[in-house]
């Protein structure tokens, strides 16, 4: 009975608060990450040599350095050059840039998989490069990148838990505080694990619906 009271009066409100913070971190990061990923992916395939080199360097850095280190740099490092970010902004920035680097790889793969004939046809109609990419190539490539990008979004939901390392107290952060006060680590982190599982499950259902909606007639046979 005492346990139940503890959960109701302390655990539930704290985790609910943390849950909202988590959502506020995840949604904009997922969106910005996807936009960055699409842009960078396009530049890495169709950009000039110099642009490609810059984009490749971005990916190498943000995919190669541990996310925690990146977050520390945004939050604790930028003040050295007189840029002060709130924990929340630093976290969203870190997540978006890291996520964008991964997305760009899925987008790049999808762009490269589009048959050359699609480009020849667009060019032969008089399309310029930018219109060809945005009207012909990307709409097809996004469909192919979606499963991979969905994967990255699911992953983002989980690594959003790193935000508490730079004092942005989201779901995991709240859990950590509760647990260190009550020493009920197992119970609290089981609840938190379940919360993340719910978030990732909802996300994968949404992504599945999106995939279905974007499915092109005549391609259904790929699903057996």
């Amino acid at each position: 009975m005492e346990e139940w009271l503890y959960i109701q009066t302390e655990v539930y409100p704290a985790l609910l608060k943390g849950f909202w913070v988590s959502l506020q971190l995840i949604v904009p990061s997922a969106f910005c990450g996807l936009v960055i990923g699409i842009m960078v992916g396009v530049l890495r395939v169709y950009g000039s040599r110099a642009v490609m080199a810059v984009a490749d360097t971005y990916v190498a850095l943000f995919r190669g350095i541990p996310l925690v280190v990146q977050l520390f740099i945004w939050y604790f490092g930028l003040p050295y050059i007189k840029i002060y970010l709130s924990p929340f902004v630093a976290a969203v920035l870190g997540f978006s840039l890291c996520s964008g680097a991964y997305h760009s790889e899925y987008v790049r793969g999808a762009l490269l998989s589009i048959k050359r004939g699609q480009m020849l046809a667009a060019q032969s109609l008089g399309f310029n490069k930018v219109r060809m990419i945005f009207s012909i190539i990307l709409p097809q490539a996004i469909r192919r990148a979606l499963p991979g990008c969905g994967n990255e979004i699911i992953y983002l939901i989980k690594y959003s838990s790193l935000a508490y390392m730079i004092t942005c107290i989201e779901l995991t952060g709240q859990g950590k505080i509760l647990a260190s006060n009550s020493f009920k680590y197992t119970e609290i982190f089981l609840i938190i694990g379940a919360c993340y599982l719910v978030m990732t499950s909802v996300a994968s259902v949404i992504l599945g619906h999106l995939e279905d909606r974007l499915l092109l007639p005549g391609f259904e046979h790929h699903r057996i």
């Binding site: 048959k115 004939g117 699609q118 020849l120 046809a121 667009a122 060019q123 032969s124 109609l125 008089g126 399309f127 310029n128 219109r131 009207s135 012909i136 709409p139 097809q140 469909r143 092109l216 007639p217 005549g218 391609f219």
Partner: protein, 252 residues
């Protein structure tokens, strides 16, 4: 004689050390139907792709209606390509768009036409190739012959001055070739200027104003269908024509 609609002078293309096209020249007048024949690797496709700069020629000059095409000048190139329709062997319909949208998108995105107006025109062009009832279908739901007819409608919607057809029926089942030939024949009868690479010499000889035999990146011989198929001067032309006649049936 009226000035030619399209003039190609000395177009060459090299890939590494291999000369795929060695100085081809061609003069096309309004309403002409030039047929390119020759073995694979002869440079027919490369010549056609050089004509609208899908492949950038290493040498050579091209004029459309007495205006030289400067392909390095992007706007000039995009404007020129709108006037030169291209039909591919494997159709290359845009997979994410249905037949109507495939025909409409060029008018909307390249010519800047309003969607409704472009849509009306697209329906008209699809009707012309006999596909009005299939305009909501996606490429994956169409047969090869239907896809090729959509691609012809897509090219026609841009009001081209010249059409380039790169083996338009080579990827089709024998049964479906007829429907595409009917559309091309209809275009020819309506005065469309065309350059077509094909192995269907029966069809070619009944329609062509000139047959051009290519081999090894060069134009070896050219002339009326009668001349090329029955009185060819070049031994290679004779040999090729007799073989292909055996394969694809009588020329008449």
């Amino acid at each position: 004689m009226a000035s030619p609609i399209l003039r190609i002078e000395n177009v060459s293309k090299r890939y590494g050390k291999k000369d795929v096209l060695k100085g081809a020249s061609l003069t096309v007048h309004k309403g002409d139907l030039k047929i390119l024949i020759g073995p694979s690797g002869a440079g027919k496709s490369t010549l056609l792709q050089c004509i609208n700069f899908l492949v950038k020629p290493d040498e050579g000059r091209i004029w459309l209606e007495d205006q030289e095409v400067h392909y390095a000048h992007k706007r000039n190139l995009y404007a020129y390509r709108q006037k030169v329709g291209m039909i591919f062997q494997d159709f290359n319909l845009f997979d994410h768009l249905n037949a109507l949208e495939n025909v409409r998108i060029g008018m909307v995105k390249v010519k800047g036409m309003a969607k409704a107006e472009a849509g009306e025109r697209a329906v008209m062009e699809l009707e012309r190739v006999g596909l009005k009832d299939h305009m909501q279908k996606y490429p994956a739901q169409l047969s090869g012959g239907q896809k090729q007819r959509v691609s012809i409608a897509r090219a026609l919607a841009m009001d081209p001055k010249v059409m380039l057809l790169d083996e338009p029926t080579s990827a089709l089942d024998p049964e479906l070739i007829g429907e595409v030939h009917a559309v091309i024949r209809d275009l020819g009868n309506n005065g469309m200027t065309m350059i077509m690479a094909t192995h269907q010499i029966g069809f070619a000889s009944s329609l062509a104003s000139e047959i051009i035999f290519m081999e090894d990146g060069q134009i070896l011989e050219r002339g009326t269908p009668e001349k090329i198929f029955f009185q060819a001067e070049n031994a290679r032309t004779k040999e090729f024509c007799s073989k292909i006649t055996e394969l694809y049936g009588e020329t008449r």
